[in-house]
Amino acid sequence: MVEWDFLAVFADFDLLMTGLLNTLKVTGLALLFGVPLGLAFALMRLSTNRPLSMIAAFIIEFFRTTPPLVQLFWFFFALPILIDVRMTPFIAAVVTFSIQSSAFFAEIFRGGIQSIDKGQWEGAKAIGMSYSQSMKRIILPQAVKRMIPAFMERSIELLKTTTLVSTVAYADLMFQANDLAQKTFRPLEVYTVVAVMYFVLIFVFSQLSIAVERRLARSGESTVH
């Protein structure tokens, strides 16, 4: 019979809180850089300029099809050899997950943009709007609304994937959990608490996303009937 003892875990709970904060830091920064970068990749991908579109397509496919752990190791161990920079685990993590998630966000942006009825482009064009004006004022605002569920889904996926950064000794929640488990000899309790922490975090996040979706759904629907 296993005896649960959470006391040891809660005695060092600040260790886990530090880890949680670091996890949020990496996730937040990866989103901050990854979303605009994803939009840029999507716009390149949709461009009528063939070379530009193909470069974007290649980058997107590359980062979607290679394992994030390999990417992380590459940025952490291989890149410093190529260009003489000292990578901290933190920078490697932010760089990796910004680019990795941008590839997925690019596809979400592209899907959202392409889902908008072509009549919207025509309506904008007919009053003299340029491609970029139409994109910015007419297409993207509608596309972003449709993208929100996929965007939230992807962000949650990102949050979970950041656990990989513990392998390059970045003190995220997972890393701190490993640390604490070894220190207290209480892996069962430690990982249970960590699982609950992840659950609460993501649950709150997804509830928030549902609320946002509902709010956005209130205005406007189809232009046809």
Binding site: G119, Q120, A124, P141, K145
Partner: protein
């Protein structure tokens, strides 16, 4: 009367399909021209070439006597910025309205004024209100398009085009997607515009509108103008067999007088 639009030898092909096979047309200020023809005759394509929603394969289009685009080595070249400016001067209304669903009615009518013509908020709003008044929808200014009927949506689309102060208005089957009982309010708005002196090119299946409102009717068949003239003449005494067949098709199930 002064000429607003001149079309010379307009050709348009999609891949190997020749849709327009040389169209010539001169449109004078204040004229209402109705384009008739069966589907596939090229009438919508012709209309869409006038404001370069489709870029012509060959031929020239002039607005107020100025050639659109520039000629290089016997081929026409069009700069996108030139076409954008041109489109502010040629309004277009579509079959499916194409209103912006994320904006209110008023914002829809203000959008082009703000982003393209760079008018101030106040000026754009005043103008939008005036145009909505003109199409009888002043009270709907703050609604979203989703809350309007088809006929109201189409009148907003007309106001949106009018707010740019265009020299010509193009109407591309604007009543075809409407419930029959809503067709009248849109046609009435269009007749009002024609009476106010707006220059209009109208693609429609509403023969009654053509008869009562148009100054000139064109009948397109197989990418060329087969007949044209005053509506009384073209609609009541067609010269060609093709045109007669077209008219017969339309009056097959007419109510008795």
């Amino acid at each position: 009367m002064s000429e607003i639009v001149r079309i010379e030898n307009l050709h348009k092909s999609f891949d190997k399909l020749d849709v327009l096979k040389g169209i010539d047309l001169s449109v004078s200020a204040g004229e209402t021209i109705v384009l008739l023809g069966s589907s596939g005759s090229g009438k919508s394509t012709m209309l869409r070439c006038v404001n370069f929603m489709e870029v012509p394969s060959d031929g020239r289009i002039y607005l107020h006597g100025d050639l659109i685009g520039s000629e290089q080595n016997g081929r026409m070249n069009y700069r996108e910025s030139e076409l954008c400016t041109l489109r502010t001067r040629i309004g277009m209304v579509f079959q499916h309205f194409n209103l912006f669903p994320h904006m209110t009615v008023e914002q829809n009518v203000m959008e082009g004024q703000l982003t393209v013509l760079k008018r101030s908020q106040t000026e754009a709003r005043d103008k939008a209100r005036a145009q909505l008044e003109r199409v009888g929808l002043a009270d709907k200014a703050l609604e979203y398009p989703a809350r309007l009927s088809g006929g109201q949506k189409q009148r907003v689309a007309i106001a949106r085009a009018l707010a740019m102060d265009p020299d010509v208005m193009l109407f591309d089957e604007v009543t075809s997607a409407l419930d029959p009982e809503l067709v009248g309010e849109v046609l009435k708005t269009m007749r009002q515009l024609a009476e106010e002196g707006m220059t209009m090119l109208v693609v429609t299946h509403e023969l009654g509108f053509a008869y009562h409102v148009a100054n000139r009717v064109l009948f397109l068949s197989d990418g060329a103008i087969l007949e044209q003239g005053e509506p009384q003449q073209v609609l009541k005494a067609p010269k060609t067999k093709r045109m007669r067949e077209f008219l017969d098709g339309h009056s097959l199930f007419k109510l008795p007088d």
